[in-house]
């Protein structure tokens, strides 16, 4: 298939500009400036190639200074019409990002633009076909995430590419992060690009989630019942919602390591000295027993212990006090074998995605972080070992795993990112087939190095300057992206940029929550499922007559 001339709306011609600033496009008088939008995609037809770029600024210009002081009488339609098409006009700033060369562009795809189009090259809005050439059509690895503003075209993410790096979903509260994340999880499932392990703090991904509009929406377990396992820390909670979890997860005191306490330091309000004492305790009692034994210490024994360990007694009592809170967690037991970790791994190995619901512990960040960190550490260790054992034999390698965490800045802050498993995973990329999907409303709290390692960022509206800086830092066209970012709609719109899209794109995120949307994702209603089974049976046994 050859790539024809673009059929998008004609906008005007290039009249100047530069590679670094972007090119200036004189908007044609037939194109109302009101219908232009920041972030829209355009194509510029050069002599031998087509440039693909983004509108990064829209300006009102004039060729006659006097009309600024003395605006013409625009109540007269003749004068209004003439001035709008001559002395007063609009300019677009377009950042050329990609060059598409030759008529086989459909096959070759785009390459980064290294120059600008010539003077007076015609500029058009990108057509559906242009968008498809750039983003790829929906297929076994390209997953539809949304539509460009004012367009019906489907923009796809290359999910196989996506899961090879850690990625981020950002946006302030209520902008659609959870919905977008659920869509991505469903996509990874639908395309079998990886297996997911979701630390589902709010219990909104597994069985069902809430929506401000329609009340309830289906979680991925409902969409793909046989391919998702729901693990729960809180059986009552699950039962109350009419869900029976596939597995009830328990955590043993023996599984808590001093590193977990380090991660929770800020949360628990511990001084560095107190957190360090955990390491001394682990040395003193041994890893398997230190929490349990320490919790049993009381009264005067504390002073002795402090002296033995050579740590400050006050610090030690604070630590004791904070760790005692763990007693309230009914998912904690004296001892747990690594059975629950093994169970998760068994699910994952069979290609079954795991969602861990926290139930009533969802308001307890310490519980969330403790469990997520502890499980991830163990699972990551297993992955590292198995990957090394496979010694490059792809068939023996563990399946690519994507771990989803919310409130990611707590795990990946500057202070802790260098020590936590999450920090390691973010930095080592796909080396061990494990990557993260971080979901956060305060990306400025995440370590810069981790941010810079994120492959693809899907960013909903952010209005805090520092958060905007944090997500755009180090990206080509950061300044332009910033202005696009702060103008997103407050819901269901996202700027997507990075590794798995060839060019930053503002999307209206695809709808989630309607029957139609479930069907698009591969969900079969019970009746359809029956019909499907009958069809399958017919295929197998020959049709009935």
């Amino acid at each position: 298939m050859t790539y024809r001339e673009s059929s998008g709306r004609y906008l005007g011609v290039v009249v100047g500009g530069s590679m670094t600033r972007g090119v200036d496009v004189r908007l044609s008088p037939d194109c109302p400036v009101e219908e232009m939008a920041l972030g829209q995609h355009v194509v510029i037809q050069g002599q031998s190639r087509r440039f693909y770029g983004v509108i990064t600024d829209i300006a009102l210009e004039w060729s006659d200074d006097s009309i600024r002081a003395n605006p013409p009488d625009t109540s007269n339609p003749l004068i209004a019409g003439v001035v709008a098409t001559s002395a007063a006009y609009a300019m677009l700033r377009v950042l050329p990002m990609l060059a598409i060369e030759g008529e086989f562009a459909m096959l070759d795809g785009p390459a980064p633009a290294r120059t600008v189009p010539p003077h007076f090259a015609p500029v058009r809005l990108a057509s559906e076909e242009d968008v498809q050439v750039v983003f790829g059509a929906e297929d076994s690895r390209h997953f539809w995430v949304g539509n460009p503003l004012d367009m019906e075209t489907r923009v796809c993410l290359d999910l196989e590419e996506f899961v090879t790096r850690s990625n981020g979903v950002f946006g302030k509260s209520g902008t659609g992060k959870s919905f977008l994340t659920r869509i991505l999880l469903a996509g990874i499932l639908q395309k079998s690009a990886a297996v997911n392990l979701v630390f589902d703090m709010e219990s909104e991904y597994g069985w069902m989630g809430t929506s401000e509009g329609t009340g309830m929406v289906k979680g991925i377990k409902q969409l793909f019942p046989s391919r998702v396992g729901v693990f729960s820390l809180d059986e009552d909670h699950s039962r109350r919602r009419g869900v029976s979890p596939d597995y009830l997860l328990r955590v043993g005191y023996n599984q808590i390591e001093p590193g977990d306490i380090d991660l929770l330091r800020e949360n628990l309000g511990l001084s560095e000295v107190a957190a360090d004492a955990a390491y001394s305790l682990a040395r003193h009692y041994g890893q398997e027993r230190w929490v349990r034994s320490f919790l049993d210490v009381s009264g005067p024994e504390m002073r002795e212990l402090a002296a033995d360990l050579n740590v400050n007694e006050r610090a030690l009592s604070t630590l004791h006090n904070r760790l005692s809170r763990f007693r309230r967690y009914d998912f904690m037991t004296e001892r747990e074998s690594d059975e629950s970790v093994e169970e998760i791994l068994r699910y994952l190995d069979r290609g079954i995605h795991v969602v861990l619901e926290f139930g009533r512990h969802r308001h307890d960040l310490s519980a969330y972080m403790l469990v997520a960190n502890l499980l991830t550490r163990r699972i990551h260790e297993r992955y590292v070992r198995r990957k090394e054992e496979a010694m490059g034999d792809a068939s023996r390698e563990p399946r690519p795993l994507v771990i989803t965490i919310e409130e990611a800045h707590r795990f990946l802050s500057r202070e802790v990112a260098s020590q936590t498993t999450f920090g390691n995973i973010a930095r080592e990329m796909r080396k061990y087939n494990v990557t993260l999907l971080v979901v956060d409303q305060r990306p400025s709290g995440i370590d810069e190095e981790v941010m810079s390692q994120l492959g693809t960022k899907l960013v909903c509206l952010l209005d805090n300057e520092r958060d905007v800086d944090a997500v755009t830092a180090g990206t080509y066209g950061a300044r332009e992206l910033r202005s696009v970012l702060s103008r997103l709609d407050s819901k269901q719109q996202s700027l997507v940029f990075g590794h798995s899209v060839p060019i930053p794109v503002v999307l209206r995120v695809r709808d989630y929550g309607t029957a139609e949307s479930y069907r698009e994702l591969g969900f079969l209603e019970a009746s359809e499922m029956r019909r499907q089974m009958e069809r399958d049976a017919d295929d197998l046994f020959g049709g009935r007559d």
């Binding site: 060729s63 006659d64 200074d65 006097s66 009309i67 003395n70 013409p72 009488d73 007269n76 003749l78 004068i79 019409g81 003439v82 001035v83 098409t85 001559s86 002395a87």
Partner: protein, 197 residues
């Protein structure tokens, strides 16, 4: 003093590459300001009338007043029939294009119209054909004649009457003028306001 049809109105009496002066056949019989005229000759030139003057035939003598005893201005001329021969009306036109075998060209003719070339007023079809392209404004707007705004507005008033779609014509002309008179939209605006029917 209305002019009828494709009237011959005078002859060229002074000529240069950019404009010509014609003497009107009849006293006060010159075309109106802004009218489109065409000369005869091997290379017919189109001009826009930008100045009309009436004076005595002897430039060294000024006419003397004669109407003190008359009831009206017309009576002055009736009582002095010789005046028709002692006074003359001349009009100046700026060249805005020329006719060639291939059609109308909106640039200067290779040679100016000869002395005694006949001068016709263009109306109806000829006027509408000539002004069909807004290029017809190019030489006029760049001519540097006195009272440019007035002349352009008057020309457009004539032309717009001959056009099938006056609004579109004026809008097109306005855009062209904005390009021809850059940085001065006020002038364009005032021309358009005066040209609108």
């Amino acid at each position: 003093m209305a002019l009828g049809g494709d009237a011959r109105v005078g002859e060229v009496v002074e000529s240069s590459s950019t404009g010509f002066v014609s003497q009107s056949y009849r006293l006060y019989g010159a075309p109106h300001l802004g009218a489109l005229v065409r000369t005869g000759g091997p290379c017919p030139a189109y001009g826009v009338v930008h100045e009309v003057a009436t004076r005595g035939i002897d430039p060294s003598r000024r006419p003397t007043a004669r109407g003190e005893g008359e009831a009206s201005e017309e009576d002055v001329y009736r009582s002095n029939p010789q005046l028709e021969h002692l006074l003359r009306t001349d009009f100046r036109a700026v060249i805005v294009g020329h006719a060639s075998e291939g059609g109308t060209l909106y640039h200067l003719p290779p040679s100016p119209p000869p002395i005694y070339a006949f001068v016709h007023v263009c109306v109806a079809d000829e006027l509408s054909a000539f002004s069909a392209s807004t290029d017809c404004l190019r030489l006029l707007a760049g001519s540097g004649i006195a009272a440019l705004e007035e002349v352009v507005a008057a020309f457009l008033r004539h032309a717009v009457a001959a056009q099938p779609d006056p609004q579109a014509f004026l809008a097109g002309a306005g855009r062209q003028l904005a390009a021809l008179i850059p940085g001065d939209f006020r002038t364009v605006e005032s021309i358009l306001l005066r040209a609108a029917p």
